[in-house]
């Protein structure tokens, strides 16, 4: 599985756009990039997934450059409720045939009033 590196923590203010960048230099050709969100004492929650270029859903956008060695999760106009840990995951099927979400330390985002 490709190793990912993302900032340990970030601070923002309500109403701002937040961009969290993840580097994954050894991403494999068939790897997808997935972001999860986790609130304290809750299970991780899928936010968005992409392979290349830009993906947007009702929650976030994911920007992936052509070389795919990094990706940026963009959260538009954050609110206090976006305070959470955000994980960047890179990987595809494991040797046994199943996809295994593998989590790193994530980025702890704190949104201030």
């Amino acid at each position: 599985l490709a190793k990912t590196t993302q900032p340990i923590s970030m601070d923002s203010y309500e109403g701002q756009e937040v961009n969290i960048t993840c580097s994954h230099n050894n991403i494999a050709t068939n790897d997808y990039i997935t972001w999860y969100q986790q609130f304290p004492s809750q299970g991780p929650r899928f936010i968005i997934q992409g392979y290349k270029t830009k993906v947007t859903n009702e929650v976030a956008s994911l920007f992936i450059p052509a070389d795919r060695k990094s990706s940026t999760l963009s959260l538009p106009r954050v609110s206090l409720s976006d305070t959470a840990v955000y994980y960047c995951l890179v990987g595809a099927l494991a040797s046994g045939g199943s996809y295994i979400p593998t989590f790193g330390r994530g980025t702890s985002l704190i949104v201030h009033p």
Binding site: N30, T34, P44, F46, G96, F103
Partner: protein, 116 residues
């Protein structure tokens, strides 16, 4: 929206006892997982389960642990001879499968296991 449900939400057990954590994955999903998260640490993969057998397991998942899908809906994690260091949140997750593109796993709310 379909969800993964876990019971109990909190379990307290004495060291050396056996516990069974229960999960009901989303009904049409094919892959099931158990993870744990020790307080303040990252979410760690324990085991994945597909087609009624373990498909992958981590080095954490030793002989102390076992999983079972006793019927068409439940997925359980058994921890034998619990130790203090087994205290953690345990998350169950499921994935619909279908290919490398499907990286969306649905996680339950977790069971907080406290070993005293």
């Amino acid at each position: 929206e379909p969800e993964v449900t876990q019971t109990p939400s909190h379990q307290v057990t004495q060291m050396g006892q056996e516990v069974i954590l229960r999960c009901v994955p989303i009904s049409n999903h094919l892959y099931f997982y158990w993870y744990r998260q020790i307080l303040g640490q990252k979410v760690e993969f324990l085991v994945s389960f597909y087609n009624n057998e373990i498909s992958e397991k981590s080095e954490i998942f030793d002989d102390q642990f076992s999983v079972e899908r006793p019927d068409g809906s439940n997925f359980t994690l058994k921890i034998r001879s619990t130790k203090l260091e087994d205290s953690a949140m345990y998350f169950c997750a499921s994935n619909q499968g279908g290919g490398a593109w499907n990286t969306e796993a649905f996680f339950g709310q977790g069971t907080r296991l406290t070993v005293v």
